[in-house]
Symmetry: C2
Subunit: 566 residues, 2 copies
């Protein structure tokens, strides 16, 4: 949808107004378009680009040093009028003639062509530059009939850089036409776009399908096929372009991977992740590639890949500085030298050596954690089902993965001579790192805090264990922010800690009572509504069901009690 | 939808890989994140930001000079793990301590907090900076519970600039916390987003509604109401922020108008068009405002407005240079002085004075065009209905608007002493400019070409009129590219021109024959399929219906014949 608008017929004009207001350092508003703000050397060739609105940053976003001198904005997906183009071109003209650049669509061809005729009749040398990069729209033998898509950016950048470098009108046209003849794009669409004021999309792509070569306004494509993984999409984009590699070309390519609006940056980066390798495999070297949104189509879902087969002159022009609202080349300062080798290895903590008593007590801790890992592996499915009621259902998996990693770390720590506190702390770190998510982080800080209280010098007695439990609970509430009643593991943790602290009973008996209290409390969370960070529908869905984190904590408490009772 | 992916569980990692491959000049890849590429002064405070993936350019796109030293990327919408954060922070640390910046969400609070504890245990001074800008998520008295949204950019920019300026850890934290306490955001959503690998959106907004204050992962908002025009949406975004203006604040504000993914640039510019006036009305001066996508949420449809209430220090830090993949401040070169007064007035063509004979003949041309305007006004609805079968249905409106403007221009030209040729040429220009679209441009060049043949010095005879008609047809086919049989107005124009040229009959009789031939040919276009620039479904739909352009040309020919017969 296009949801933000006043009257549909005002959409393009309001967008133009807002654009000019947003970039006073780059552009000056003129009727029907925007003009480069800075002074222009007399005699410079003026590069004026344009077309329908709805394609931002095409074309307004290209106005600035090193790219376009002005842009003309038509209505959404409609060519600007002849007089609008001529009027903007007159304002941009600086004595060196004008190049009118646009994508090759019927309405634009008409109006830019008519504007050029009008300007010439007034004595302004005006040329037209129709970009024809979309290989899906016509064969290599019929290039003049090809549509213009994201190749606009490549061709206009070359023209803009050539004009900025002071070339005359003939020379700028020559290099721009050469760039156009060496620029090819291929696109794919996953879904259509909706015009301002319309309730339904202009065109659609069937769900689960990808339309290859579909035009950015719904013009016919090549074929529709089932959606495939990103690696295959990357191949589908690249291979048709390779077929038109100029003979003898040395492999340097300017590349634009363009999102059409709803296909977002991360998806483009996933494609680029694959394309970098594929380009290399084909002997191609991308020069200053651009990944992002350059020629959009309202909220259309899809993307395109454009290649400009470079030579020395084209490479210099492609990499020349530019500074526009939507496109910048060249640094704002000196590029600092690359930093040296990056330290990425974890600071491997040396295991502190424990006293003999500590070393003797440590294996018991490791055994408890190993048993927890066994039990949590068995409970993985059940905990996942409970979590799925109000969450993403990954709690069982996280607890199983975390406890397994903790058991490994604990065993290694024992073997390395650690005492009870270090064993527990290292187990906690491993748990957090492998489990991921909120509960992983909480279990990590809990075990680490508990271990710090236990220390490494003696077998912990019941009072020390209870004190550690209190420290663990404090760490959990400090880091997690949950209070009793919030329907989290804290609801089960609090009664466990209180049971451990309010008894003089031996350790096993204290744990047995604590485990029972934690289990009762976990069951009672079914009556609560979660308060922290849960969307409302999820929170409501969870009423009548216990919290997965509280249930797993109670399960762990019972397991410890069982081990101690053995 | 998120359509570009391989395995859902690899999405974030592949996107990170592609991002690092795309910006080798800005970043170095490290496990779980990206590190600023350039050398960093020893002792500089390291600003490390991060959070879940799916929010690009948050957070990877912020890495570079003047902003973040590194970013950590979690899974989609999931906090990075404690060890991932600690590992990236260790790589970024340059001896001045580390600030860990993130949006205030439970998982991030846990993991960044635990990472800070781990780093401190290793002797690295680490602080946490939780951004809390979303005023919809908690009241002004409960700021610490607010979520972090697009205010991330504002707060991180301040911290990054302060660190770049060489402030020490305490000083950077002070100014960053002050920035956070003065940063407020309010957002609205039109539709939800879809996680990679999921077939349905994570949450939805009812069609035709806007959800105010909805969180970027679907967290509860304030209310849902019917969608309203953009001017009202702008007010809904701005007013809640004004309520928290600090006492005595002088009106300078840093502003971020942020698109969440599917709400596109033009829509944001439409909002900005309204917001600039509203800010001024409230005595506020936006300083270096940013309009675009800064914290997205996959393909979520919506936007947010963020304000940072500036003071002198914050303004200097906000406007300080930065150079990252997604955010740049400071020019790549010298900003040229503003160009002087911009020539925007159309080069008002002086009306060339015609001979007496020419002046005498001109009113007849103007009468013909006035009659065309009457007829086309009456036919507007019918022509629109024909056009809607295979087009956007605006043909009737364009013809009515164009001919009315042409009639006005013709009358004025006659009054100014123009001859037949100039009257027709100026009528053509006016037609093209007011009608817009393809047919407007074609009618414009047709009348202009026709007028040039007629000249201004005599009443045109039948032969001259026929010769003008041929010139008009040539101009139309040259500019429009259509051939007979393409189902355009050319199909009716060709028989008209041939009838005019192949007879010695008087003008009125020749037009009568030509009009009949054009009408027959227009009817016959019902059997044709359009070939130029029409999407396939539209082309198929048009079979059995005549072309609107041909029908209107025939109607005009009949009208001319009637006027001449009178």
């Amino acid at each position: 949808m296009t949801s933000v608008l006043d009257r549909p017929e005002d959409f393009a004009a309001s967008a133009l107004s807002g654009f000019c207001a947003a970039y006073p350092g780059h552009v000056v508003s003129v009727p029907h378009g925007a003009l480069r703000a800075g002074a222009v050397p007399p005699g410079k060739v003026a590069v004026v680009v344009g077309g329908g609105s709805g394609h931002y940053p095409a074309f307004l976003g290209y106005v600035g040093t090193g790219l376009a001198d002005a842009a003309v904005a038509g209505d959404v997906f409609a060519s600007p009028s002849t007089s609008a183009i001529a009027s903007v071109a007159r304002a941009a003209e600086a004595g060196g003639g004008v190049i009118l650049g646009f994508g090759n669509y019927a309405g634009d061809v008409l109006n830019f062509g008519a504007a050029a005729e009008r300007l010439r009749a007034e004595g302004i040398d005006a040329r037209i530059l129709a970009v024809t990069d979309d290989i899906a729209s016509a064969g290599p033998g019929d290039r003049a009939r090809r549509r213009g898509v994201a190749g606009d950016l490549l061709v206009f950048k070359i023209a803009g850089a050539a004009a900025e470098a002071g070339l005359d009108l003939d020379a700028v046209m020559d290099v721009a036409l050469r760039a156009n003849s060496r620029t090819m794009s291929f696109g794919m669409a996953f879904d259509g776009c909706t015009l301002p004021g319309h309730g339904a999309p202009l065109f659609t792509v069937p769900a689960g399908q990808v339309a290859l070569g579909l035009g950015i306004h719904g013009e016919p494509g090549i074929r529709t096929q089932p959606l495939v993984p990103a690696a295959e999409l990357a191949r589908l984009l690249l291979e048709p372009l390779l077929a038109e590699r100029p003979a003898g070309q040395d492999g340097r390519v300017a590349v634009v991977l363009n999102g059409l609006g709803r296909t977002k940056y991360e998806e483009l980066f996933v494609l680029w992740h694959h394309l970098t390798g594929m380009l290399k495999d084909h002997g191609l070297t991308p020069v200053a590639p651009e990944i992002g949104e350059f020629v959009t189509s309202l909220d259309m879902e899809g993307c395109s890949l454009s290649i400009l087969w470079l030579d020395d002159e084209l490479e210099a022009l492609w990499t020349a500085p530019a500074d526009t609202p939507a496109f910048r080349r060249g640094s704002s300062g000196q590029v600092a030298p690359h930093r040296g080798a990056v330290r990425v290895a974890d600071a491997a903590a040396a295991v502190p050596q424990a006293s003999a008593a500590g070393r003797a007590a440590a294996p018991c801790i490791a055994r408890v954690i190993a048993r927890l890992a066994d039990v949590l592996a068995g409970a993985e499915g059940e905990l996942g089902r409970i979590d799925a009621i109000a969450g993403d259902g990954d709690h069982g998996q996280g607890m199983a993965r975390g406890s397994a990693a903790a058991a490994d770390a604990a065993r290694q720590a024992v073997d390395a001579g650690a005492g009870p506190g270090t064993v527990l702390a290292l187990a906690g770190d491993a748990w957090a790192d492998r489990a991921g998510g909120t509960s992983g982080a909480l279990w990590g800080v809990a075990l680490r805090a508990w271990g710090q209280v236990l220390g490494d010098d003696a077998a912990p007695d019941a009072a020390r264990v209870a004190q550690g439990a209190r420290a663990a609970l404090t760490a959990v509430t400090r880091l997690g922010g949950a209070q009793p009643g919030d329907k989290t593991l804290v609801d089960a943790f609090v009664p466990l800690v209180e049971a451990l602290q309010t008894t003089d009973a031996p350790l096993a008996q204290a744990w047995s009572r604590g485990a029972q209290a934690a289990t009762d409390a976990a069951d009672a969370t079914a009556h609560l509504t979660p308060r922290l960070g849960r969307a409302r529908p999820l929170a409501e869905r969870s009423i009548g069901h216990p919290d997965a984190g509280a249930v797993s904590l109670a399960l762990c408490a019972r397991t410890v009690a069982e081990v101690l009772a053995d």
